[in-house]
Every structure is written in C-alpha cells, then in structure tokens.
C-alpha cells in the first residue's frame, strides 16, 4: 500500500474537503443542540430559571451494621433529621443580606450560636454546591417549626439522614470507635478525596479502620422546589443516583465476654483487657477503661462533653489495650524461661548458685526480689510459680543480653501485634544496638539484662501484644495475628478475613517441644500450686495456666498485670489484663481475668449472677 507523491497531492485536495465536511457537520450538531435546548425546550428551561429552584439532595448511605460473633447488634443506624440551608437559593443570590436574617432565626430555633452557623455557611459554600448541613439529629419540635415557617426561611430544608447508634452505649467503645464530622486536616488527605466538609467519618477503632467499607456510597438527586416549597424530581434530566449502603461487619468479639471484662473493673479504675482465641487470633474481647459513650459523637459532641473526655488526666478516649505500652513485669518470665530452655542455657531442673534470700548481689548493686523474705533455692517450675526474681536475674545473666534479645526478636516481641485496629503502638524489647543508640556505645551497664529478665527496665509491651505472646505459649509456638473482624456482609466465615489482608494470619516459630512443655507446665503451677501467685484466677472445672506481674512505675503506684490461658491442656482462650496503678497483679489483675474466664466457660452462671446483682 505505497502512496506516491502524486497521490499524496491529489489526496491533499480531498483532505481539505473531508476536514471541512467533518467540521461543518460537528458545528451543525452543536447548533442543533442549541436549537433543541433554546427553541424547542426553551419554555421549560425558562420556567425552571424563573419560578423554581433546583436543589441537589444528597441521599446519605447508611453505614454498615456491626454485630458480634453471635449476631448481637453493636452498631446500627436510626433515622434522624438534619436541617440544611441552600446558600445558592435565588433569594440569597439576589439579596445576600437576607442570609443573615435567616441564620439569625435558625440559630434561635436550633439553639445554637449564630456566628458559628454563619462561619460554617461561609466556609462550606466555597467548596460545593450542596445545601449545608447545619444541625444533625434535630429535635422534632425544631423540625416542626422549620416546616411550618418554610415560607419565611428560604432555602432551609429538613433532610432525613441515618444517624449512627451504638445500642450497647459505653460497652466496647474503644473497640468500635465513633463517627464524627471530618476534620479540616483529614480533608487535605488525598485518600479522603470523596469527602466534603460536614461529612461523617470513622474516627477511632473499627469505625476508622473499616471506614472505606462501612461508609457505603452516598447518592444524590436533583429536585425542583416550587414557590410553595413542594418538591418534584427534576424530570428529563439526571436520574437520581441511589445510595449504596455500607458493608456490614461481623466481629470476632463476644459481647458477653466484652461486658464481663468491662464490668470486672472497679469503678474509676484504669486499665485494659484483651481476650483472644489462641488457635486463630480472633479477639473475643478488647476493653479499655475508662469508657466513653460513642453515641455522643454521632450528633456532634457538646463542648462540655468534649472537655470532660479530653481533659482530667483519665483520657477516656485513649485505647489502653493497643495505644499504651507498659513494662510487662513478671508476665514476661515464662517467655524468658522458654528462651533459656530453648537456647540450652538451663534445663527444667537447673538451680542457680545464689539462693534467694530476698536480694541478689551483682557487682556493687543489690537487686531485690519482690519477696523480701526470699524463696530459697528453686528450679524453673517453682521459680515461675512463685515469681522468684533472684532466679530470673541469674537466668538473664546466663542467657546474656544478646541471646535474650535475639530470642525475643525471634518471637516478635518488638513487633506490632498487627491487629486490625488503627493507632497501634510499637512494642519494645531492647537489644545492645538499641542501648548503644540510646546511651552511646559501651556507656551502659551489663546489669540491664537483670531488669529485662524480670520484665522491667526499658522493655515495654501493649496489652494486645501481651495477649498475642501468651497465645503463642498457649498454642505451642505459633504467632497468630489478632483480628476483630470475622466476616463481611453477614458472612461469618473466617476465610473472608484472610482476604482482607495479604499477610498471613499465622506464623509458626521453631521452638523445642520440651522447652515449650516445661514453660507451659510452670504457668499451670502459677495458678494451681499451693505457693503459686495466681490462685485467684481459678475457675471451676477448668485448668487455668497463667502468670502474674507487677510492673514498677516511676510515676506512681505499680501497674498490676495478669496473663492466662485455659483450658491448660487445649487452650481456647487467652486473657491479658492490665490495671494501672493498682498494685499487685495477683490481687488486682488476676480476679479480673478470672471473671472473664468465668463468663467464657460458665456463661449461664455469670448471667444469673448479674440478674441477681441488678435486683
């Protein structure tokens, strides 16, 4: 298909003609379009431009519902009324001063500040053409008033919008999180491109983590409002885009367990409980105290409530289960023991040269045991059961910092647990490199390993990580990733969780079977032996294994800790408890774990007890 220059020249003539025809036809079509719009349909458009107002209405999508593993409702939506104002209403375009009058009247009706309303209108009208949402969850009285005085309040309308509701109130507040209006800062995030000012967005917990799925897609429609305030679909134009409701979530949480965990705390206590299924990492309960009521945020929280939540030193919004790290204290001992056994530093029957007389001399320093009377000479099982510090000081020295840190790294002690909740804090088990960075190379003492071996010093672990490490012991050597969502859209299949993230949920670690068995049997002794420190975690008919902990706290009273799993032979639940500034783990934390285990193994009894208590 060669083309010689003559053909090209000849083609050129055609080209001009062809292009001219194409251009004239296209312009003809544009003129035809103008003719149709202006001459044929012109009367209709004239009517629209003169008498009626066009309004865009957002059809808000209901957020997905959240249920616990047994189908118990934890978050849903109820209809509510939102008062909106359309700043592009003709009245305001023609006479901007009328806006002030309208806002003034609305402020009285809605019982809000008129300057705040005016500010809001000014900010939002720059961003979109939509009516501005002035007040959510408006009371019926105000709604009725607006409806009655529609003629005097041009552009003001009442739209129906789903309101987020948490039927359980404070229960599970940190786990669920809350929704509130998107902040200016979040609006700048390119990932939030689909949001405008005034939209609701998940702020914490599951609401934030699963925002993109829970939110759904809002729709819109164009309506024509006539002089009498009646609405009609804008015919012949865009069809309404219907909203798509958000995805429902089924959690791994058991509401009864969640309640038991939260109710087990003394009023005013601060702390956290994490309960896991050690076989698959499903989170059965995740509590942080004190709680807050997420319902308060759905409608726009009042200044006073916000002040109460964000000030006062208690920080109720803070999720202590994942956002806070603490020294694990003696709850780390089973892992240190496991390390010693696995590395061959000790045998289960090994005893150390220095007997425990209440303290251990290392160089010029004396390291005290928690029990000033001393434990005498102990082997591993009793050393764990009675939590003898002197034993673990010597074990730490024998293993050495490098080997201990390497073992902790192997079981992922410094990694995040990987739970599917936002804002998880990093954990730390320091190694030599870390101390070099912190204090300068060689400028730190070898004695540090003594403190690390009893879970004190720089080691810091969050309650959820503590639960994960305990699950590692409970299931015999597998790191399971804790997760709170079991399935979506009503499907409770755990398989669908795996598809949420590509990374694996289970990660086996090579540990000697005998080492593991010894560490586990020592944990059983903690609860079940006569001299054990965890006796108060005993549950009827079930053999519990656990470990108490008391973490020294330079800022105040010690933190109480307790970790456990049960049944010891074939564990189905792991519980980690932390109570801030409450003293001993054996007295302040173990009883809380006991109540959770009780609710897990004997739900009927726990239920009837509560009924009695209420009466």
């Amino acid at each position: 298909m060669r083309i010689d220059s003559e053909m090209l020249a000849g083609g050129m003539r055609y080209r001009e003609r062809n292009v001219t025809i194409v251009v004239v036809v296209i312009f003809g079509l544009v003129l035809l379009r103008l003719f149709t719009m202006q001459v044929i349909e012109g009367g209709r458009y004239r009517e629209l431009s003169e008498e009626n107002r066009i309004r865009v209405e957002i059809l808000a999508a209901p957020r997905g519902e959240v249920r616990d593993r047994n189908g118990f409702l934890m978050a849903d939506n109820i209809p509510s009324f939102t008062v909106t104002l359309d700043p592009l209403d003709k009245v305001y375009v023609e006479d901007p001063k009328r806006m002030e009058a309208t806002i003034g009247r609305l402020a009285t009706i809605l019982e809000t500040d008129s300057t705040a309303l005016a500010e809001r209108v000014k900010k939002e009208r720059k961003q979109s053409f939509l009516p501005i949402r002035l007040k959510r969850n408006t009371e019926l009285r105000a709604v009725a008033f607006v409806a009655e005085h529609a003629a005097e309040l041009p552009g003001v309308d009442v739209e129906s919008e789903p309101l987020r509701r948490y039927p359980l109130g404070e229960t599970g507040s940190h786990l669920l999180g809350y929704v509130a209006e998107i902040s200016d800062k979040e609006l700048e995030n390119p990932q939030r491109a689909g949001y405008i000012r005034g939209d609701l967005i998940g702020k914490m917990g599951i609401e934030r983590q699963y925002e993109s799925r829970l939110r759904g897609e809002s729709g819109k429609r164009f309506v024509e409002v006539n002089a009498l305030g009646r609405k009609a679909e804008l015919l012949g134009d865009k069809r309404p885009i219907l909203p798509k409701r958000g995805t429902d979530l089924t959690l791994t949480i058991d509401v009864n367990l969640q309640r038991a965990a939260e109710d087990a705390f003394q009023p005013g206590a601060r702390g956290a409980v994490v309960a896991l299924d050690p076989r698959n990492g499903e989170v059965l309960a995740l509590a942080s105290k004190p709680n807050y009521d997420p319902n308060e945020f759905s409608t726009g929280i009042s200044q006073a409530s916000w002040a109460r939540l964000s000030e006062g030193g208690n920080y109720p919004l803070f999720n202590r289960a994942i956002q806070a790290v603490y020294p694990p204290g003696s709850t780390l001992k089973p892992l240190v023991a496991l390390g010693g056994l696995d590395l061959g530093a000790i045998e289960p029957g090994t005893t150390f040269r220095e007997t425990c007389d209440g303290a251990f001399q290392f160089g010029t320093r004396s390291f005290r045991c928690w029990n000033p009377e001393g434990h005498g000479t102990l082997a591993l099982r009793d050393a764990v059961a009675r939590s003898c510090d002197v034993y673990f000081y010597q074990l730490g020295l024998r293993i050495g910092l490098d080997r201990l840190a390497a073992f902790m790294k192997k079981i992922g002690a410094s990694d995040k647990s990987g739970i599917d909740l936002p804002q998880e804090r990093k954990n730390l088990f320091p190694d030599a490199a870390w101390y070099d960075r912190r204090y300068g190379a060689g400028r730190w003492s070898r004695g540090l390993v003594l403190n690390l071996a009893i879970g004190q010093g720089e080691v810091s672990i969050s309650p959820v990580k503590l639960a994960q490490l305990t699950a590692f012991l409970a299931n015999g050597g597998t790191i399971v990733r804790p997760h709170v969502v079991r399935g979506m859209d009503g499907a409770g299949r755990p398989a669908s969780v795996a598809s949420l993230r590509a990374d694996s949920l289970r990660q086996p670690v090579a540990i000697g079977a005998r080492a593991m068995a010894s560490a586990r049997s020592a944990m059983e002794a903690v609860v079940n032996d006569a001299g054990g420190t965890g006796g108060s975690a005993k549950v009827e008919g079930v053999r519990v294994a656990g470990k108490t902990g008391t973490a020294q706290n330079p800022h105040g009273e010690d933190h109480a800790l307790f970790v456990c799993y049960a049944p010891a032979e074939d564990p189905r639940i792991v519980v980690a408890v932390l109570v801030e500034n409450a003293g001993h783990g054996s007295t302040a934390a173990a009883p809380i774990a006991q109540k959770v285990l009780q609710a897990f193994f004997h739900p009927e009894a726990a239920e009837s007890l509560r009924v009695v208590a209420v009466r």
Partner: protein
C-alpha cells in the same frame, strides 16, 4: 519586511472574526461580573480590554516576522522551553482546581501548556515537512509521537486531562494533513479505543472484530500487523490489571476525571445550571445584562469557563448561534489558509494551530450544553483571562503569517 503585497494577502474575515469574538467576550465578561458581590470583579472587563490591546500588538508581531524563522533549531528551542516550563510547573506551580497548572509572576499567571501547544505545533510542522519523510513507514512516526507524547504526559501529570488531550488532537490532525493514510490513523488510535472499550466486554469484542477485519484486508506486511496486534493485546490485558491495582481513591479520581457528574459532590450541578441558563434564553434571550442564572452556580467560573452560558441566556439562540457560526468561520478560514499555503511547513503550521482552536471551542461549548464533562478548559477569545486571550491572538497571528506568505514555497 512586511510589504504591501504581503499584507494585502492577510485574511480579512479571520481578522474580523477574531476581534469581534474578543469584543463579544469583553462585553459578556462585563455582564457576568456586573452583579458580583465582590466589587474587585467589576473591573475585570477593563483588564481584559487592556489585554486585548497587548494581544493585538503581539498578534501583529507574530504575523509580521516570516514564519520561516521557526524552521530548524528555533523550533527545538521553543519546544524545549515549553517542556521546561511544564516540568517546572509540576514542582513550583500554583495549585488551582485541584491541579498544578499555573506559573506566575505576581498577579500575572500563565499556563505553560499554552506555550507548549504552540511549540509542539511548530516542531511537528518541522518534522512532518521534511522531504525524506515517508509516512507509510510506521517507524517514521516515532519522532512525532514522542514530540506530542512528552507534553501530553506532563500535562496529564498535573493532572489536566482536558488540556493534555489537545496534544492528541494536534498530533492526529497534523499527521492526517501531512498525508498519513486513514488506515494508519485508525491503527494509531487503536490502543486508545482499546483502553476505552476494555471495561465493557461486548464493546471490546466489536472493536477487536473490526480491528481483525481491517488488518486482514489492509495488505500490510506481517511485521507491522504483529506490532499492532501485540501492542493491542498488551494494552487490552494490562488495562484491567492496572485498574484493579489502583487504590479506591485513585479510581474515584479517574472516574471523576472522565465523568464529573458521577461525583456526588461535583460538577453535575454546574452543568444543570448551565443548561437552564442557555435553555431559558429561548430564541432572543433575556437581554444583555438581564441574565438571572449567572450569579447562581458558576462562581467563580461564570466569566471564565461558563461564559458561553451567559451568552446563551442573555442573547438566546440567535446570539449563541451567531457566536457558534463565528467560531465555525474562524476554523474554516484556518483550513483554507492551510490548504492554500504552497509551503508544506506553513500549511502544517496553520492546520496545527487551527486544530487547537477547534478542540478548545468544541470541548467548552459541548460542556456548557451538557454534552461533555467539566474539564476546566476556557473558551478561546471569549473567556476572561489575559494570557489565554494573548495566546489565542498569537496563534491567530501565526495563522495570518501563513496566509500572508501563501505564495512562498
């Protein structure tokens, strides 16, 4: 030098149409801003008048200096400068309408893409007017493709889809004018048709069938056929893959790009208001300054991107029709000039510049009547904007330059 004989050959209809459109534009910028609350906008039409004076001067200079100076190295220089400024915009540009499009000195802002368009036209005219060029060889298209592709991608990166497609328009109209057979034009377009249809299987099957028939009957040699088939297969397979790997917000951005009305918060409202404005103008319009819709929804764009809506509302079908016909005249004069020029470079220059006008006018007018998505492209000559007016006049000046020297070989 500009001799009398040469100036006599200047295209008078083109000149009058251009100036007339600019004056109409200033009148409607006045109308669109007359009722603005912000009094700073009231004087915009005066600024536009001053810009018109500057633009006329610039246009005269563009027409006077023989276009031959754009042959050779100077073309590369101009093109290189345009590309450089585009790259600069990506780093230090002003953000407006969600994209970095502007470079500025003080209050004067300027879109480097305007310069890049002219630079690309000039350089393509250079490449396509070479005597050795054999457009039946697919490999001779590689150079022109790169020349148009680089600014296209840079503008797309801003991101400004509307403007970046201008470069496609320039590329294809100039190739066609340079003598590229229609078959090749079609084959060049196939990857794009492929991407567009890959989201809807039946459409894609129709496309693949058409491509197969065309290739079978084309009597092309095996290698070019294989190249076309391979490219189309790769594109066809890769598109859904790439799409599936995008983050949800990136996908949303692309669909808003392609169809802003699908965005619940976006521009659908603007289009409806624009249609009501134009439609309500009926046959004779509501009268100059009497439009009621203009204050409503287009703030702050009623005097820039939506100026045609104001024209349609206030002067009705008669006025909007006249403006449309004036643009048609402008395009047809450009075609005529390109056709008459004896010099191949001159003809290509004129056709490239005319295609830029055609693209902008069509995209903007179709947007205001609801036939195209909101792209943020102004209406050349009519919309408010000093540098936009200036570049339009510079382009017309260059076209006049070709008209005046049509006899030269």
């Amino acid at each position: 030098m500009v001799t009398a004989r040469i100036t006599n050959d200047a295209d008078r209809p083109l000149f009058f149409v251009t100036v007339l459109l600019a004056l109409i534009g200033i009148a409607f910028v006045y109308s669109a801003t007359a009722m603005a609350k912000d009094s700073a906008e009231h004087g915009l039409y005066l600024r536009q008048l001053i810009w018109l004076a500057i633009a006329l001067g610039g246009s005269a200079v563009m027409a006077a200096v023989p276009y031959r100076i754009y042959v050779g190295k100077s073309a590369w220089l101009l093109y290189g400068l345009g590309i450089f400024l585009l790259v600069l915009t990506l780093f230090i540009g002003h953000v407006g309408l969600g994209a970095q499009r502007w470079l500025g000195w003080g209050s004067v802002k300027f879109q480097p893409s305007e310069l890049a368009k002219i630079g690309t036209v000039i350089l393509l005219a250079n490449l396509l007017s070479e005597r050795k060029l054999d457009l039946t060889q697919l490999r001779s298209l590689v150079g022109p493709m790169l020349v148009a592709g680089v600014p296209l991608l840079l503008v797309l990166r801003q991101p400004d889809l509307g403007t970046s497609l201008t470069f496609l328009m320039i590329f294809f109209s100039m190739l066609y004018w340079a003598g590229l057979p229609l078959l090749y034009l079609f084959l060049l377009l196939t990857p794009m048709i492929n991407v567009a249809t890959s989201f809807y299987l039946p459409a894609w099957i129709v496309f693949a069938a058409v491509l197969a028939v065309v290739l079978y009957r084309s009597r092309l040699r095996l290698v070019p056929i294989l190249v076309v088939v391979t490219i189309n297969l790769v594109v066809g397979i890769a598109t859904p893959q790439v799409w599936n790997h995008l983050e949800p917000y990136q996908r949303q951005r692309i669909s808003t790009f392609l169809d802003p009305a699908a965005d619940p918060y976006g521009a659908g409202y603007q289009i409806i208001q624009s249609k009501i404005a134009i439609g309500s103008g009926q046959i004779a319009g509501k009268g100059f300054l009497n439009g009621t819709q203009k204050g409503l929804a287009f703030l702050p764009e009623q005097h820039t991107d939506f100026i045609f809506s104001v024209v349609g509302e206030e002067t009705g079908f008669l006025g909007a029709g006249v403006v449309t016909v004036l643009y048609l005249v402008l395009i047809l004069r450009g075609l005529k000039i390109a056709h008459r020029a004896r010099n191949r470079f001159g003809g290509l220059l004129a056709i490239g510049l005319t295609s830029v006008f055609l693209y902008h006018v069509l995209v903007n007018v179709c947007m205001t009547v609801g036939l195209a998505p909101v792209t943020g492209l102004p209406l050349p000559l009519l919309s408010y904007g000093g540098t936009s007016l200036l570049t339009s006049f510079l382009q017309v000046g260059l076209i006049q330059n070709v008209a005046m020297r049509w006899r030269e070989y």
